[in-house]
Symmetry: C2
Subunit: 419 residues, 2 copies
Amino acid sequence: MDRLPGFRDFYPEPLPDAGLWSADARQHIFTKWRDTARLYGFREYDGPPLEPLELFTLKSGDEIVGQLYNFTDKGGRPLALRPEMTPTLARMVAAHERSYKKPVKWFAIPQLFRYERQQKGRLREHFQFNADIIGESDSSADAELIALLVDTLLNLGLTAEDFVIRLSSRNAWHEFFLRHNGALDAEYEFFQAIDKIERQSEEENEAKLARLGFSLSQVQDFITGGVPTSELAAILKNLQARGLDRFVRVDYQVVRGLAYYTGPVFEAFDRKGEFRAIAGGGRYDNLIRLISGGKVNLPALGFGMGDVVLLELLKTRGALKGFSGAIDTFVLVEAEDLRGPSLGLVQDLRRNGLAVDYSLTPAKPEKQFKRALEFNATYAVRLVRSGSDQTLLQLKNLRTRTETTVTTAQAIEQMKQGA
Amino acid sequence: MDRLPGFRDFYPEPLPDAGLWSADARQHIFTKWRDTARLYGFREYDGPPLEPLELFTLKSGDEIVGQLYNFTDKGGRPLALRPEMTPTLARMVAAHERSYKKPVKWFAIPQLFRYERQQKGRLREHFQFNADIIGESDSSADAELIALLVDTLLNLGLTAEDFVIRLSSRNAWHEFFLRHNGALDAEYEFFQAIDKIERQSEEENEAKLARLGFSLSQVQDFITGGVPTSELAAILKNLQARGLDRFVRVDYQVVRGLAYYTGPVFEAFDRKGEFRAIAGGGRYDNLIRLISGGKVNLPALGFGMGDVVLLELLKTRGALKGFSGAIDTFVLVEAEDLRGPSLGLVQDLRRNGLAVDYSLTPAKPEKQFKRALEFNATYAVRLVRSGSDQTLLQLKNLRTRTETTVTTAQAIEQMKQGA
């Protein structure tokens, strides 16, 4: 029996098949996400992967249902597996906003699901780092969020040569749209057309824009001639004070596909343009009011960074070494009458914070030693004499090949230094 | 709009409402699970939360469907949200078993889902620590697994006064069942009756057992008079060598409700008997062969520990302190002409591994200082002079209330020591 198409199994490395995703690489990425968020004072939250279907249709309209894993439960409730985190965040903040001082800085690492027509290599789930700031309308919050995005990518081992943040503004596009007499009820359609320009042919773009009363050259002139709005200028100035402006450039080509953005928007891309966006986000000042049915009104902004494009990029840039899952120590049990005390030693070492393995059943010394090497152990240790005050160990450093005879306490001390 | 009944939101602590689950406590538990598993040389894996429905019916029969979140996707595939991890593990191991040396020691921390009739306080999802050893039939593997279970609970701050592992054997019960001429096709029903004895009335137990050809007193005699099988004796001897036997007692009352167990089984309980089982597991030597359609035949064993009972127990035993999400340093920006250099300082501190927050927008010094205290910052720092070689900071230790004027390098050194 195989897993569902579009879903991933995560095996321990080294992997049996290069096409598989590894649990070790995933955990490495999660840890960098979590650690960087904490350096920025962001706090973790999470919601359920299943939500009422309405939570998503309220925000994105009924057309989103075709892209969801949705169903009716045995109690007749319409549900969906979450396709994004922002509606859940808005719901949670709206429910308890008075309990948290503003601005709130929160992050989450949800798994997200999207039902799409099966395409080769196209996934139906991914993990996403979500970071949001709620309750601050000043552009200093946008800068803080973009700084977190930059530092997250740097902490993952990428450099200014690898990625760039393209910064844009829904407000600038909104003014452009009004200046050229766009019909307000077609504005979202217009944004979606801009969002797709880079991925579609000139003819398709021309036709789509003409229907909305625009020409492609008009739009392209705005993109290439785009002057930063005062808001974007303030963000850039803030980032410059942090020494991070070289990671960001204004690029009105970016507009973001989602309906609910209201102000600055941005996307992170690899500089070589080989991949889809690494991350994207922006302001959504009206969403919490919408989700809360008008009860709570807070400005907000956030970004999401998926694990799929990121992992590909890290691999091609050599920023991801293999994960051996190395243990610290392998305990050799060479005389079966010493198995009891050896088990006591195993526990003792683990209690002291050392990752330890051993052969569960009797095995030839060579076989045990081979297994120690397979496990990439730093040390191999065996009891040579056991007694209440006379326990002696033979300790071998498998990196330096040095061997010493020591007491348990000495062994622990040495191994903790080497671990 | 509210979340679905039976599902949890995880907020950052301090919590707005004592009934809410905290993301901080969850992360604390996950970290202890992961760290202890690694000390034991277990490697992490994961599979998709959605699996083909057949993966679960194959093992547990069609009656399980009533307890699942199952549905048919837009491509007509019958799916279910995983109610347990073992079938996924068996599927993954069967698919790539040749790539991993045996015994395999793997762990996972999946979220699991079960559709049950709505009851007050009853959850429809939980997280579970799953640890399994695959490819070793010797009872030394059972002992290693139970040792991991004990150390996990100890590392969470529980003691021998708080919990006990009740160890039993499907083999012992199987022999008892045959000795008393039980009908083989009723054996699973018999195990389920034993499993429920403690939770049902004497009359119910008597009636249920009579239908299967047993009397309650017969069964109770076996439970109270139970002599450890040689297999259980070997497990106990192994645990004794590790100094862990005081956490374990043979108790034939335990039999486990699931169909697929084949040998030793065990459950962890709080000593006071206030809660349901904290964890449970055992051998399932036939499951991988079943899931792989006969292609792979490996003995296996494992346990699962949920987060719900565990968290309740940790709370009542005082083994879980609150989580303040404290930051290391709050940077005060008191003169707006120093905002630029202060932002540079913020980045500099974060780059040095310190968790830093600050007021995004201009605010009165008292208000900023109050926020530093709210964030539980260890240090407050402000720029008093900025320049290429003359940068000076005023650094206040908010715990000791001492204040010093230092360079950036000195400040970083002091704060890293205190962090």
